[in-house]
Each structure stands twice: as structure tokens, then as C-alpha cells.
Amino acid sequence: MVIDQQAIDRDVARMRSALVLVGIGCLVLLPLVLNAINKPSYLTASINAVIFAMAGISLVVLVGYVGQVSLAQFAFMGIGALVVSRVAPVVGFWPALPIAGLAAVPIGLMAALPALRLRGIYLAIATLGLSQVVEASILVNQNIVGGTLIHLDPPSFLGQAFNASIQSRTTLYFVDLAIVAAAAVFTLALRHRKTGLAFTAVRDSELAASSVGINVAKYKLVAFALSSFYAGIAGGMYMVLSPDVQPRFFDALTGSVPLLIVLVVGGVTSIGGAILASFLFALAPILLPQGLDAALTSLNLKQALKSINLADLTFALFGVLLLRGLVTNQDGLVGMLDRNLRKLAARRQTRALTAGPGEPAPAEG
């Protein structure tokens, strides 16, 4: 019996594209389903998830593609949010959004400077420091922000201002989803071209990368620029959902650190992983079964656990997943899924082969 590795690869690729299509289908159908079952709060959580996914993609570029860690993503978002809040009244929201992305790029390049010398934990600490500096000197500076809150008057889309109505929220969900899709497509398009190959080379071995003429410093700067651009856009997107934002929302410890954890759980090298994990993170607190509540009551633990809210519990859950993930599979949920697909494909082939030569393989699902 000969195992045909290429056939397995083809089968895995087929199943993978099927899963991606299913995922996209779910993303598109989600608000319609939520509206049908009349759960507007889930819809808001879903928009949060989409924005979080945008921030996630910004981090995938850095961590997954170029191997640079950053705890400054939420600071980039804060700059984006601030710029939208200040520029949108002048030029309008939609032109202000790319400006917000561009405005975050200089900060991103500042974060890249330590990356030229430091790696791993030292780089994480350096970017954390930068994040704190940005927050303390810009985001909480009332002269710059124009108040204690970052504010944006609801922008309009196709003549209708965004508000908290279900219809408006649904529109916002799809607009945000389209922005994330554009970022995802652009980023994925890089992968097997010159830029993406150079990113991977820098991630795997800076020494080998420079030996083939890749300017390692340049590609780190490019990655940080792209990453901060995405994060700045994510910050601008957040202002539409939430017209008044506390500057503290963009703090590294409550923003960038959880983002990194969520990303590692989902799979740092994968955009699909970033989107998947973002939705789990945003929706789990409200999707955790009501049964949990009942179970706690019946176990008489309700009183003891009263002070714990579901959001904290979700985060604890992600902490456990993170530990498990780091020990057993470093490529996160998506990596786990991928390995299972491979096993499945191998099993299917074995079955097809043992079914007897000459017989057609079972139909592909």
C-alpha cells in the first residue's frame, strides 16, 4: 500500500477551502440569524469581534509573518481613534479613516526601532513602554483629545447616520466586515510574493535572509508600518460603534495583552485564526450557556462566585486554552484544526486503498 502524500495534500487543501467558505458563510449569515432570534446585544458583540479581528490581523502581520512581538497594538488603535475623532469633523468620517491608519504609522515605526535590536521578551517590554508613553502623553492629554473622552459624532453611511438601531448595527457590521475582508485579502495576497517571502525569511532566520540580499531592517519597518496602519483603522472603526471612548480603553494591559493571548489561542500565523479567536473572545461571555448559571446555583457555588462575571470567566478560559495551546500546539486552534484535517485525509486515503485497488475512492465531501 502506497501512501500518496500529494493526494493527501490535495484533499486537505479541498477541505480547508470548504472550511474557509463555511466560515465566510457564517460571518455573513451571523447578523441575519441574530436579528431573527432578536438578540441585538449579540450583534453589538459581533461588531466588537470584527474590530478585534482587524486588530488581530494587524498583529498576525507582525507575530505570525515577521516574528516580531508587539504590545503596542492598542496604542496604535488609540491614535487611530483620536485622529478620526479630530479629523472626521473637518473632512468627514470616511476620508478620516485611512488618515487614521496613516497617522498610526509613525508610532508603528517608532515601535519598530527597538525591533531592529531586540527580540522576544525584550521587544515586548520595549513596545509596552512605547504604548504607555503614547497613552500618557497623547491619549489622556485633554489638550489633544479635547476632553476626557475621545468623541465622534455618529458618521453616516449612504445618507443614514449610524445609531443603536438593529438595522443600523447590521449595516455597521457589514461595513466593518468588508474593511476586515479587504485587509485580510491584501495581507494574504502578500504571502507568496516577494514581500511575503521576505517576511517569512526574516522570521525564520535573519542571518539567512540577509545572506540572500534581504534588508532585514527594512522589512521589519515595513511590517510595523502595515501593522500599525491596520490597527489605526481598527481604532477608527471602534469610534463608530462607541461614540465616546475612555482613553484608558487603549491601555496595553487591558487591550494589547489580551489581544496577543487571543491571537495565540487562535493561531498566530493565520488570519483565519485571528478572526475565529476574535469571535470566540467577543461572543463567549454571552454565549456561555445559561446552564452554567444554573449549575453554579445547584452546586451552591453561586454565592461564592457571585463576584465573578462572565467576561472574567471567559478570559480565564482563554488563559487555560493559552496554557494548553502553548504546551501542546503552538499554532493555536487553526493549527489543531489543520492537523485534524490531515489525519482525516490520511484516514480517508487508507480506507480508499484498503477498499481494494481499482475501486473508485469514496466520493469527496
Partner: protein, 286 residues
């Protein structure tokens, strides 16, 4: 002016003088070997040549340029290619993509053209593909071009690494222990391959090797490093008979820090000795 020359290079790590006033010349279309016992400074010299290590003093000249202060990626673009002692491929990329990365500096595209798949990106990809196809063909890797580099056996990984270096269109190729860890028969094939590559691409080679019989066979000229100093240099036959060289290699036996075979192997044994182990100079002389 020589094609490639290292002139009076010294490298000091704190109190340790790793290289002491070393000179080395590679002429056009020449294969030059660099040998020496472990810790002699071969790797330091190699790193100085490839731009990873800045020398404390001295000069590196290549093809009319003073490249002493040029970083590694600039040297690569000028035409110095290299391989690594421990293979440094990009394991998650295919064989084809690994070699295509060698075309990096000549691909005229950037972030926007790549992300939007503009024509520039396609043209760059298409031009690179021609180069890669030819290299795959020459190295006999065409049939495995889609495999992930990390999944290949070491012998093939070394070939891919040579292919990646070739894709940078080097004029001088630096091979760092290209035979370590591969089988004797593969070494034979590699020697033949290197010779044909030199003709085809007008290469000069600088080879750092443990396998002395290979160096004696392959090289036009040999430099022997010992304790950071150039102990001897000359044609293979001269170096082989140089008493100082024999002394340096046999001297290792007394050096507790570096256990060498206590017994002098017979020629037959030396031939069968696994590559990567250091056969004695005298043993390989038959």
C-alpha cells in the same frame, strides 16, 4: 587588484584575538579551501567575509569594492553568496519558494504591488520563476519543487541552500562545511556538481571544510588557519607536506579540549570515516 581579498584582518573578542592579521586571496574561477583545527578561527573568518562579523582591523575587498563595512545583504547584492554550516533554509516554505527568495534583490516589486497583485508583482514573479526553474533543473530538484524544505533529508536541504545562494547570482560562493552530515556518496556527487556549477555560472568558490581529503581533491589553493593565524598556504600538495600543518593537526591529540582520534587511521579507515569527523591529514595522504 585581486578579485576577492582579505587583507590584514584581525578580530578581537574582548581579550581573545580570534583572528590575527590574516590575509587571503581568491582569484577568478578559483576554488580556495580554508582548513584548520576546531577553534582555529575558520568560522570567524568566514563571518567576516560574509559580513556577519565586523573586523577589528583590516580590509575586505571584492570585485573592486571595499566591502569591509558593508552589511551582509549588501555583500549578497554585490555578488557574494553563501551557505551555512547548519543548514538555514526557511522550513515552512517550499523548495521552489526557498530558491525564489534568492531572487529577492532583483525582483522589482513592493508592498503595494504585491498586496494588490499588480502587474509589477506578476512580472517579478514570472522573471524569478525562469531563474528558479533553471536552478531546480541544474540541481535535479525539479521533481520535489513543491515539497516543504523542512521535510527534506539533509543532503537535499544542502542542495536547496546552494540553489538559493545561486539564485542571488553570486560571483563568489562561500560554502561553510557543505559536506558535514551527508553521506560519502553524496559528497562525491556534490564535488562533481560544484565543478559543473563553476563552469556554468562563472563562480569562484571559497570552501571551509573539515573533510580534508575533499579539500585536497577539490581546491586549487589552500589556506590553513591555526589559533587565529595563517599557518600555511599553497597548492594542495605543498600544504599536505608542510611540517607545520601536519604538526598542527597531529598536535590536537595532546590538546585535551579537543579529543581527536588517538590512533592514526589507515588510509582505508580514513576513507570510510563519516564525513564531518576530522580525519587526520596524514591518513588521507595516499
Amino acid at each position: 587588484m585581486p578579485f576577492f581579498a582579505v587583507q590584514g584582518i584581525s578580530v578581537r573578542f574582548g581579550g581573545l584575538l580570534a583572528l590575527d592579521d590574516v590575509d587571503l586571496v581568491v582569484n577568478h574561477s578559483e576554488i580556495v579551501g580554508l582548513i584548520g583545527p576546531n577553534g582555529a578561527g575558520k568560522t570567524t573568518l568566514f563571518n567576516t567575509v560574509s559580513g556577519v562579523q565586523r573586523p577589528t582591523s583590516g580590509k575586505v575587498v571584492f570585485d573592486g569594492h571595499d566591502v569591509t563595512r558593508a552589511p551582509a545583504h549588501v555583500r549578497s547584492r554585490l555578488g557574494i553568496g553563501r551557505t551555512f554550516q547548519t543548514v538555514k533554509l526557511f522550513p515552512a516554505l517550499s523548495v521552489r519558494e526557498n530558491i525564489m527568495i534568492g531572487c529577492h534583490a532583483r525582483m522589482k516589486t513592493g508592498l503595494f504591488s504585491d498586496g494588490l497583485h499588480l502587474p509589477r508583482s506578476h512580472w517579478a514573479q514570472r522573471d524569478a520563476k525562469k531563474v528558479v526553474d533553471e536552478i531546480l533543473e541544474v540541481l535535479g530538484l525539479t521533481s520535489i519543487d513543491g515539497r516543504l524544505a523542512g521535510e527534506l533529508p539533509l543532503g537535499q536541504q544542502r542542495l536547496v541552500e546552494i540553489g538559493r545562494a545561486l539564485a542571488t547570482k553570486p560571483k563568489l560562493l562561500l560554502l561553510d562545511e557543505a559536506t558535514s552530515g551527508i553521506s560519502k556518496s553524496e559528497v562525491g556527487e556534490l564535488v562533481g556538481l560544484l565543478r559543473s556549477l563553476m563552469d556554468r555560472y562563472q563562480l569562484s568558490l571559497l570552501v571551509v571544510e573539515h573533510d580534508i581529503s575533499l579539500v585536497m581533491n577539490l581546491c586549487d589553493y589552500i589556506y590553513v588557519l591555526d589559533f587565529g593565524r595563517m599557518l600555511a598556504s599553497g597548492a594542495p600538495a605543498e600544504v599536505r607536506d608542510d611540517p607545520a600543518v601536519i604538526e598542527a593537526y597531529l598536535g590536537i591529540v595532546d590538546d585535551g579540549a579537543n579529543p581527536a582520534p588517538a590512533q592514526k587511521p589507515s588510509p582505508e579507515e580514513a576513507d570510510q570515516a563519516p564525513v564531518g569527523q576530522e580525519p587526520s591529514l596524514v591518513g588521507s595522504k595516499s
